[in-house]
Symmetry: C3
């Protein structure tokens, strides 16, 4: 039996991973789905990356979680990398699921095509509360392309405005992922076009892990909504020894 901690992406909370966690638990493992600081309903949207990372470190310490498989989705890749740098001894394996892989001094924005950064900064300026939201058309076509319209709309309604500072902040790491001693896996959903395929998740970002285990499955960036059971299986295949 292993312990899985699933760390969500931008605009999400842990709640959206509950169905995935249930599927994991149904196979006899334990799983947790904390919400990162800055994405909780009561949080202000001026949270930065270091605070976001610290909130998951605190969660692990508070719950005395050890020897765990730490899974990060998308922006969650920034967070789990920071967590692994701060509390390496608590982690058995890192699993990046279509997730950003930063080296020391990199921000999430540094790994985006420049026009994506421009769009997100433009939206944030319009909002003025430190957060950025995703236009529905982009969500429908590029993030959840494998679902029907009804699923896409229901999923869109639970998204929350995301603190843009966490996308701008450069991460501070004592060790880059490729040099971390912990085992690493990368789950690549093959129809994930939230990053364009000419500027892809895998192998562009995954190769920054050094030696890692690749698990690929059909699906969009939002497989947590379109096929949570299939995603859970991939997480188990990625997370086992």
């Amino acid at each position: 039996m292993s312990t899985y901690v699933l760390v969500h992406g931008a605009w999400h909370t842990g709640k959206e991973l509950a169905t995935v966690a249930e599927s994991i638990e149904a196979t006899g493992h334990k799983s947790f789905t904390p919400t990162i600081k800055g994405n909780r309903p009561s949080d202000t949207r001026d949270v930065g990356l270091a605070e976001a990372i610290q909130s998951i470190v605190d969660f692990l310490v508070l719950n005395e979680l050890k020897d765990l498989v730490l899974v990060g989705h998308s922006y969650g890749g920034m967070v789990i990398t920071g967590v692994a740098d701060r509390v390496p001894n608590r982690i058995r394996r890192l699993v990046y699921w279509n997730a950003f892989v930063p080296n020391d001094g990199e921000s999430l924005n540094d790994m985006l095509p420049p026009q994506y950064v421009e769009l997100s900064e433009h939206i944030a300026i319009g909002r003025g509360d430190g957060s950025v939201v995703l236009p529905f058309t982009i969500w429908r076509e590029a993030f959840i392309n494998d679902a029907d319209l009804d699923t896409a709309q229901r999923a869109f309604r639970v998204l929350n405005p995301h603190p843009i500072k966490t996308l701008r902040d450069k991460i501070s790491l004592s060790t880059n992922p490729a040099e971390m001693a912990v085992a690493k896996s990368y789950i690549n959903c093959t129809e994930d076009t939230s990053l364009p395929h000419h500027y892809p998740w895998h192998p562009r970002l995954s190769q920054k892990l050094g030696l890692f285990r690749l698990i690929q499955i059909p699906g969009s960036h939002e497989l947590c909504f379109s096929n949570p059971a299939r995603l859970a299986q991939a997480i188990i295949d990625a997370g086992r020894d």
Copy 2:
């Protein structure tokens, strides 16, 4: 209920898409499979791209088709792009299925590896009637690699000589695909090697659509013969709102 118009590729007619259309209709949609001018048995082979495009525009007008999902396969991508430019108001969504995506002033040949153009021009010179045909070995290995030999041979026998002028002609567009207001999808069959994978359909050509929905499925360029029901499902996933 939606209306699907399926526009075939080079060497094909609408007839070869009949089984796909039946599968689409079985799910409650309407579908049409016109043959482009230049590929009909009675057509001369001196037809150019503008005439080819106009023949599908005429088909839509004649049948009073509106609010439709316009699907183009391979060379059909040239045609549906031209149709969308001429009668944008009739179209709800464009679906490119391993199809060429031209910008204003580009020909299909401009998107081919140079040695492919040479080969096709060489074959056309030998024929001397304005048409080009596909050698069986290339068809068998690179176009219909997922079928057995019998299917490959039967499908080959229904191909028709293709007017080479349609491959040479540069398209005239008032708006490039990325700037068209209509919704767009791209279906990529992952074993389609009719274009070599180091010079691929997706994302090399698909990215010219700007924002689009990606649907990927296993299969060769000729999934209409090797698995029409699976293709129909992909078209529905690509064509829905």
Copy 3:
């Protein structure tokens, strides 16, 4: 009915392909799984590439095998290319399964990322008997990423030290693969990360075949252990006319 000869990769023997061969035979074909000279228990590890190739030529001659589908896995691609150059008339089709495709004068090492060559030379120096072995961690994560730990460990135990001279030796060919008259197929397991995906098997190496038939299936480099029946089906799809 066809005759299949399956040529294993580095560190393997023909024995590890027995289950694949049984699946092929169950569909009515004949199949053989010779072990290349240098990988047999009694062989010294100073064998070079020319001897390795000759041992398979000898096997075909001794068993009077003709009109056969010759399949090579990984390093086996070097061997079948050499065999096809020496006895082209015995071969109906070459099937490369995540295999190296050399041109005249190239070694296997020439097709590896430089750091892989360094690592393998470093290991060989440490051993001092002319052979190289694979560290378990690399095997587990990058070669057999689709299996559970137990399968990965059992498979690892049957591997044999591989003669490093066969990786260094430049092949001597009278005809490069793209110019060989024989039919060719390439099987690409889509999760094969034994070569990193930014330096991949397909299309980087497959394109050296010229016209070839692509068959893709999910799986790691070691599908012979993780899903031999699925691999057998791919070999039949690749090997048929």
